[in-house]
C-alpha cells in the first residue's frame, strides 16, 4: 500500500512537471526543427526527425534580434542599478532612522506597490514626452523603477529590521560615518536581500512590455518582448522556427540566474509577500 501511494505521488509529480515544462520543450524543439518538418502534419510533432540551425541563423542575420537583445540588456541592467540604489537608501532610512512622516512615507510606498504598472502607461507616456524622451530607451530606464522601487524598498526594509542594530552601533562608536557603515557593515550583511531584489528587478524589466510598446516605437530602440511580438509575428508567413528561437534565447538568461539563486529568491519573495 505504501509503495502504491508513493508511485501515485511520483506519477502526479511527473504530470505536474510535464504541464510546467512543456511550453519550454515546445520552444526548443520548434526552434531546431527543419521548416518542412514543422508544418508536416504526418510527422509526430513532439519528436525531432532532423536538426537545423537555419532558424537561429535567420534570426541573427535577417532580423534585428541582436539589437533588441542589446537594448533589453541596457534597459534591464540600468533600471536594476537605479532601483537598487534608490531602494537601498530608502529602505534603510525607513527602517532605521527616526523622523517625522516616516510611517506616512512607508504607507505611501506600500500603496504605490499595489498599483499595477499597466494602469499608468498613458500618463507616463505624457510625462516622457514632456521630458522629451519619446522613442529613447532612456525613457524606459527612467520609468521602470516606478514598478520596481516600491517592492524593493519594502523588501529591503523588512530585511534591515532583522539585522541587530548593535552591529551598526559599534561602528558608530568607533567613529565611522553613516555612509561608511552603510557600505562596509550593512551591505555585506544584507546580501541575500540585495540578490533577491536584483533578480526581481532584472526579470521584471527584462519582460516588461506595455511601457516599451507605448514609449519606444522605432525598430532600433525596441526591447526584446516588443521586438519579437511586433516584428517576428507576421501575417500568415511561416516563421514559427525563428520565433521560438527568439523566445528561447530571451528566456535563457532569466532561467540561468534563477537556477543559481532559487533558494534565496523563493525565501526572499515569500518573505516580502507575506511578512511586510
Amino acid at each position: 500500500m505504501k509503495k502504491f501511494n508513493s508511485l501515485i505521488k511520483i506519477f502526479i509529480v511527473i504530470l505536474i512537471l510535464v504541464w510546467t515544462l512543456f511550453p519550454f520543450y515546445w520552444m526548443l524543439i520548434t526552434s531546431v526543427k527543419p521548416k518542412a518538418d514543422i508544418y508536416d502534419q504526418k510527422l509526430n510533432p513532439l519528436l525531432l526527425y532532423g536538426f537545423t540551425n537555419e532558424h537561429y541563423r535567420y534570426l541573427f542575420e535577417e532580423t534585428n534580434f541582436l539589437i533588441w537583445y542589446k537594448n533589453s540588456l541596457i534597459v534591464a541592467t540600468s533600471s536594476t542599478i537605479i532601483t537598487l540604489i534608490v531602494s537601498y537608501f530608502a529602505g534603510y532610512s525607513l527602517s532605521r532612522l527616526k523622523f517625522r512622516g516616516s510611517s506616512l512615507l512607508g504607507l505611501l510606498i506600500f500603496i504605490a506597490y499595489l498599483i499595477p504598472p499597466t494602469l499608468l502607461f498613458i500618463p507616463l507616456a505624457k510625462v516622457v514626452s514632456i521630458l522629451n524622451l519619446g522613442n529613447n530607451i532612456a525613457a524606459l530606464i527612467l520609468t521602470y523603477p516606478t514598478f520596481l522601487v516600491p517592492f524593493c524598498t519594502w523588501m529591503l526594509m523588512s530585511y534591515f529590521s532583522t539585522i541587530p542594530y548593535e552591529l551598526e552601533e559599534c561602528a558608530f562608536i568607533d567613529g565611522a560615518s553613516r555612509l561608511r557603515v552603510l557600505f562596509n557593515i550593512v551591505f555585506p550583511v544584507c546580501k541575500p536581500a540585495i540578490i533577491t531584489v536584483t533578480l526581481f528587478s532584472f526579470t521584471l524589466s527584462w519582460g516588461e512590455m506595455i511601457y516599451a510598446l507605448v514609449m519606444v516605437p522605432s525598430t532600433m530602440n525596441k526591447t526584446l518582448p516588443v521586438g519579437i511580438r511586433s516584428e517576428l509575428i507576421r501575417g500568415d508567413v511561416f516563421f514559427h522556427g525563428p520565433l521560438m528561437a527568439a523566445a528561447l534565447l530571451s528566456v535563457i538568461p532569466v532561467i540561468l540566474i534563477f537556477s543559481f539563486f532559487t533558494d534565496l529568491y523563493i525565501s526572499g519573495l515569500t518573505k516580502g509577500a507575506v511578512k511586510y
Binding site: 512537471l17 523622523f99 507605448v214
Partner: protein, 293 residues
C-alpha cells in the same frame, strides 16, 4: 522654523529623496494626471478641454465597454479560482517531496519566473489553428474533435485563462508551501493520536493556519490578474469580437492605438475602485500582522 528637527531627520530625508521623486513624480503625479485626463477630451497632440464625466458616461453606455468589464471579471474570477485550487495541490505535493525536492521546486517555479511576454509567445504557437499541438494530442487520443482555441470568443477566453493559470500557479504554490512549512508538526501528531482523518487535519489544522498567507497571496494575485495585459496582447490581441479584451488592453487600444488619450485614461481608472477595495483589506491585514509581532 527649521525644516529638519535634527541631523538624523535630515539624513533620513536625504536618503529618501530619490524614492520620494519616484513615488511622487512618477507614480503619484501620473496617477493624478490620469484622473485629470479622464475628465477632458484630450487626444494625441491635442490638449483638450474639460468635459466633466462625459467619458465615463459614454463608456458605461457603450456595449463594448460593458463587455470588457464583464470579461475582466470572468477572467479574474475563473483564473484566480484555478490558481488557488492547483496552487494548493502543488504545495501539498511539494511539501512531501524529499528526494529531488529542490530540483522539482526550481522547475515548478519556472513559469512564474520567466517573463509572461516571452512564454505567451510559445503558448500562442501551441494554440495555432492548423498546427495546435493540443489538437494533435486530442486526435491521437482517438477523437476527430478540433478545439478552435483562439477563433471563438469562449474558447479564446479559456485559452488565455489557461496561460494565466500556468503562470500563476507556481506563485500560489510556493507561497502556500511557505505557510505549510511553518505549521508546527506537533499539531498533526496530536490530531493523529486523537484519530483524525487526513481531510479533517486539512480542514481543521492546515486551512486555518495558512489563512493569512492565503489571503495576502489572493489579494496580490487579484491585482495582477485583473490588470493583465501581456498574455492577452500577445495571444489574442483582445479578439475575437472583443471576447478576450480586458480593461488594460482596451485602455491601450483606445488611448494609444486610436489616440483618444482621455478615454484610455478613463478606462484605466475603472480598475481603481477594485484596487482600493483590495488594497484596503490587504493593508488591514498587514497592520494586524505587525501589531501581533
Amino acid at each position: 522654523m527649521k525644516l529638519f528637527r535634527n541631523e538624523e531627520e535630515r539624513t533620513a530625508y536625504f536618503y529618501l529623496l530619490p524614492a520620494i521623486i519616484v513615488v511622487f513624480g512618477f507614480i503619484g503625479y501620473p496617477f493624478v494626471y490620469s484622473i485629470y485626463l479622464s475628465f477632458t477630451n484630450a487626444g494625441i497632440g491635442k490638449s483638450g478641454s474639460f468635459i466633466g464625466i462625459l467619458n465615463y458616461l459614454n463608456l458605461l453606455k457603450s456595449s463594448t465597454f460593458r463587455q470588457v468589464l464583464f470579461n475582466s471579471l470572468v477572467f479574474t474570477i475563473i483564473a484566480i479560482s484555478i490558481k488557488m485550487f492547483f496552487g494548493m495541490i502543488f504545495a501539498l505535493i511539494m511539501q512531501h517531496l524529499r528526494r529531488a525536492g529542490k530540483l522539482v521546486k526550481t522547475l515548478i517555479m519556472l513559469p512564474w519566473v520567466v517573463p509572461t511576454s516571452l512564454s505567451a509567445i510559445a503558448w500562442w504557437w501551441m494554440y495555432n489553428p492548423n498546427y495546435s499541438i493540443f489538437n494533435w494530442i486530442i486526435n491521437k487520443l482517438g477523437t476527430d474533435y478540433r478545439v478552435h482555441w483562439l477563433s471563438l470568443p469562449k474558447t479564446a477566453m479559456l485559452s488565455v485563462i489557461i496561460v494565466n493559470s500556468w503562470i500563476g500557479i507556481p506563485f500560489f504554490a510556493i507561497s502556500i508551501l511557505s505557510g505549510l512549512i511553518s505549521i508546527d508538526i506537533e499539531l498533526y501528531e496530536a490530531a493523529d493520536s486523537e484519530g483524525a482523518k487526513g481531510y479533517q487535519k486539512f480542514i481543521y489544522i492546515t486551512l486555518p493556519l495558512i489563512k493569512p498567507v492565503l489571503a495576502v497571496v489572493l489579494l496580490f494575485s487579484t491585482l495582477m490578474t485583473i490588470s493583465e495585459f501581456n498574455i492577452i496582447y500577445i495571444i489574442t490581441n483582445g479578439g475575437p469580437l472583443f471576447g478576450t479584451t480586458l480593461l488594460s488592453l482596451y485602455a491601450y487600444q483606445q488611448g494609444i492605438s486610436n489616440g483618444v488619450i482621455s478615454r484610455g485614461a478613463a478606462i484605466s481608472i475603472f480598475i481603481f475602485p477594485l484596487l482600493f477595495i483590495v488594497s484596503y483589506f490587504q493593508l488591514r491585514m498587514v497592520r494586524k500582522g505587525i501589531s501581533k509581532r
